[in-house]
Symmetry: C3
């Protein structure tokens, strides 16, 4: 992703921070604000107009804000009326539709597709080809793996659209399906190819189609390897407890007033 400044369109009304690099063939609309030191790679479109643009002559493109230190890889499309927290990192050909709010330090893999009206907390990792339907939401530190999907329609097609929710620290493995409106608790592990058709309590290992609650993860010991879940004490790359350990970080978080959900 070299930056040759070929065929780039940046609206004169866009607000571009210091040290921002913009790849060839990229388009930055007038409603966009890009934070300092961000990289917008080639062939990306930031601030894509909503559907009503095509028919409404008075259409005004609502603002999209990319906070500092983003890396948005090539051929990605981010619609108008989104807010993306600092240190965001995307793969290629990501689609983020309107009214989406993403917290800080998140990443989205290649070909991920957020269908709009999606809310994502901090430090979430969505791998390639994750599909999130409208009105779905994720807590913090949630990881989702390829071809996992959150749906939002209990009786398709219907007008009763209601996305699900995935709690903090939960891992959703490849090809898992979270059905419309389902609440998945904190610290769960949703197995590969599962169909999650009902509420999942915190600390559950849930697997199968439809899911069964197989284990309480707090009691789950893998022979010779210790307790794999919750995972935060054994994995810290890119996490806010990197270097200091999860327990120390969590203690410090609890001490910091005012109280917070994180």
């Amino acid at each position: 992703m070299k930056f040759n400044n070929r065929n780039v369109y940046v609206s004169p009304n866009a607000k571009i921070g210091r040290g921002v690099r913009i790849g060839d063939n990229a388009v930055i609309y007038e409603n966009v604000e890009i934070g300092d030191n961000s990289v917008i790679c080639n062939d990306s479109v930031i601030g894509e107009p909503l559907s009503s643009y095509y028919n409404d002559p008075k259409y005004e493109n609502p603002p999209t804000i990319i906070e500092p230190d983003a890396i948005i890889r090539s051929h990605s499309i981010i619609y108008a009326n989104c807010r993306i927290g600092k240190s965001f990192n995307s793969g290629h050909r990501v689609t983020i539709r309107e009214n989406t709010v993403i917290g800080e330090h998140c990443s989205l893999g290649t070909l991920s597709d957020l269908e709009g009206d999606v809310t994502i907390g901090n430090y979430c990792r969505l791998h390639s080809n994750v599909h999130i339907s409208q009105t779905s939401s994720l807590g913090n530190f949630v990881w989702m793996y390829p071809f996992s999907v959150m749906t939002n329609d209990p009786y398709p097609p219907s007008y009763d659209i209601k996305g699900g929710y995935i709690g903090d620290y939960t891992q959703v493995c490849v090809h898992a399906v979270i059905l419309a409106g389902v609440q998945v608790g904190e610290n769960c592990l949703i197995g590969a190819n599962s169909v999650v058709n009902r509420k999942v309590p915190a600390f559950s290992l849930a697997m199968g189609d439809p899911i069964k609650i197989v284990k309480d993860l707090r009691k789950y010991v893998v022979m010779g390897k210790g307790k794999p879940y919750p995972w935060m004490t054994r994995f810290d790359r890119g996490m806010p407890w990197q270097g200091i350990g999860y327990e120390a970080w969590a203690k410090q978080e609890r001490k910091n007033a005012p109280p917070r959900t994180l």
Copy 2:
């Protein structure tokens, strides 16, 4: 998707209707006809040459016709020798390969992939990431959800390619697989993550891997919500019975001579 007319290639032999808008970096080949008031968004390619183009010096690109009022979103690729009915609507990065015929008022979601020799009726809705293999076909008013797939090879790899068929009004939920050559009847609901390995009679709720016929949907009542299927009496957005009701529309359709399958 503003239209700055940057880096656009429209063959002088293409037939472009009135009021057509073409996005930046788009390519419209000489074999293409685009109906009035259509929108071809940025970075799309319409009329993509078939494989034989690369080797055959006498190659002639067969015609692709996009009927009026289409919106084809960015980075989409539509091959030569396709016909797409009026009021078509696509997401981003759609691929439609050669010899595909799509009826009127259809939509394809972001990243959908029609592999060629596909036939789709009227008023079908394919969501993001639907994959349709060669020689598959859909009736009218069929909806398919993300990561659902129609396959076409009973003993891969073989020369006995035969796509399946999905009947009118049927809903195919996320991650469902329709195996090669399988016929799915009208008015069915195929559950999430199902593997459809045999014929499904009309009005079936089919679920599981491999599917079981779980219910006759005509008898399926959800407590306190009435009968969810067939869905046409409770959902009309974008459907031809919008505003008048399905029963009135169907009656009127039956009255209109000559008789028709729609």
Copy 3:
């Protein structure tokens, strides 16, 4: 994919073979070598810099080599430090990340995603939307179908990344999941929607979630059609035994010194 030479960037240091055609809006970096008679279609990027490029001022882009007779379709991205054998054929929007080695006569379908550090043998066919995670590898003559995936993390998220392996001639059907580190033998058939959680012996028909070994394929006879597997005696299109038959080819291979695994 006409070649109008519009908005093309080819580094003066790239090595471009004879008869190479490069599509509009393509980018070929300085670290790239493209073999004779290859076609790089529009909007592709070859030699994409690795992540460290964004932060390391001394970054040097390692070489990527595309051997002769490739057809790489539009909007594809191939990273630096890859080697792709002769007669490669890709669909659209393919992603091949760094440190990937692909043998001769392979093809990757539209939207396929090789996540890096992947090794693929000769004559493999990956269809649309196949996802291969880091450190996975495939033998020769392996076919994978849409939405099949190889994973690499046994306890996500962990540092114990270990991709699986798929043996020669094996077929992996749609929506199948090969879990981290699993070895699939030669000449297997992995059914649609399977979850492969353990080693699969050669010549197995494996199906289900989790898989069961259902049959020894050498004994698998389909009524009236003969023995479908191993498939090599009944299918030869694009295979090195095309025209001469598998048995004759295999005999000739065995005779050719030095001994080889192919």
